[in-house]
Subunit: 130 residues, 2 copies
DNA sequence: TAACAGTATGTAATAATATAACATTTATGA
DNA sequence: TCATAAATGTTATATTATTACATACTGTTA
C-alpha cells in the first residue's frame, strides 16, 4: 500500500475547489475564489497546483491552461492522461480506457524513447453540442 | 489538388525562421529574431503563428508554448499531431505513424464524439539523454 | 527534546505569454 | 472598379507564470 499524501491547508482548499467544479479552472480564477480563505497571491495557488499535479490529484489541460480533478483512481501519480474537449461548450472529460493506455504505453516503448508519461487531448463536439 | 496558400510577408518571415530552427521556438523569441525584418509587435507574431498553425505549416507544442515546423507532408491542415519530447534536452520531434493516427482517429469515433482533431505529447528521455 | 531536513507559507516584484481595440493597407475575385 | 476578405501596424492591456527572499511548520532521529 502506497503512502497517502496528507495535504497541506492550501493544497486542500484548492483541491476542494477544483473537485467541486464542473469545469476546468484557471489559476487566476482559483485565486479569486480562494481569497476569502486567506490565499492572496498567485504563487500560493501555483505552488499548490504544482503539488496536486505531481501527486496525481489534478491534471492540467495544456491546451486550455486549466486544471481539473482526476476522475480515475484518485491516489495514483498520473503518467498517462487522455481528455476529450468540446470546442463548443468547453466541457472536458477524462478518458479512462485501458486499451488506449496500453496501446500508447507500448507505442512509446517501441519508439525507442525512455518514456515517462504522455498526454493526449481530443478536440471536437460533445454529444450535446454536435 | 488543394489550393496552395501563398503566404504573406510576415507569415513567410516567421515560417522561414521556424523551419530553419532545430528546436521549438517561443513567440517572444521569434519576435526578438524578426525585429530586424520590421516586425515590431507581439501581435504581428501571434497573428502569423495563428495562420501558420491553421494551414498546418507549423504546430504548437502545448506543453511548452512553442512552435515547430510541420515535419510531415507540409501542405495539409493538421488535425492529428503527435510529438515526442525529451524532458532533459527538450528536443521535440514529430511522430508520423499511420497506425497510430488510424488507431486514434478510430478511437475518437467510437467514443461518440464528433472529432475534429487530437494532439498527443509523449514525455521522456530521448536516445541521447537516456 | 533538540537539532536537522524537507516541505510549505507569505509577500513583493517581475517575467513571460497572449489578446483587445482601432486605423489602415494590400490582395482577391466578381 | 468595386466590394470584400485578409493582412498589417500600433498602442495598450490582459492573462499566465516565476524569481527571490524571509519565515514557519512537520516529521525524523540523535
Amino acid at each position: 500500500m502506497q503512502k497517502q499524501h496528507s495535504l497541506s491547508k492550501n493544497q486542500q482548499i484548492i483541491l476542494d475547489l477544483i473537485v467541486k467544479s464542473s469545469e476546468p479552472l484557471k489559476a487566476y480564477s482559483i485565486l479569486f475564489n480562494v481569497q476569502k480563505k486567506g490565499i492572496n497571491a498567485p504563487l500560493q495557488v501555483y505552488r499548490a497546483l504544482d503539488k496536486l499535479v505531481e501527486i496525481g490529484k489534478i491534471h492540467k489541460i495544456e491546451s486550455r491552461n486549466a486544471f481539473i480533478a482526476c476522475q480515475n483512481s484518485s491516489c495514483q501519480i498520473s503518467k498517462a492522461t487522455a481528455f476529450s474537449i468540446c470546442e463548443s461548450c468547453e466541457n472536458v472529460s477524462e478518458i479512462s480506457n485501458s486499451k488506449l493506455s496500453k496501446y500508447l504505453a507500448n507505442f512509446a516503448d517501441e519508439a525507442g524513447m525512455k518514456y515517462n508519461k504522455y498526454n493526449l487531448e481530443f478536440f471536437g463536439l460533445c454529444k450535446k453540442c454536435k
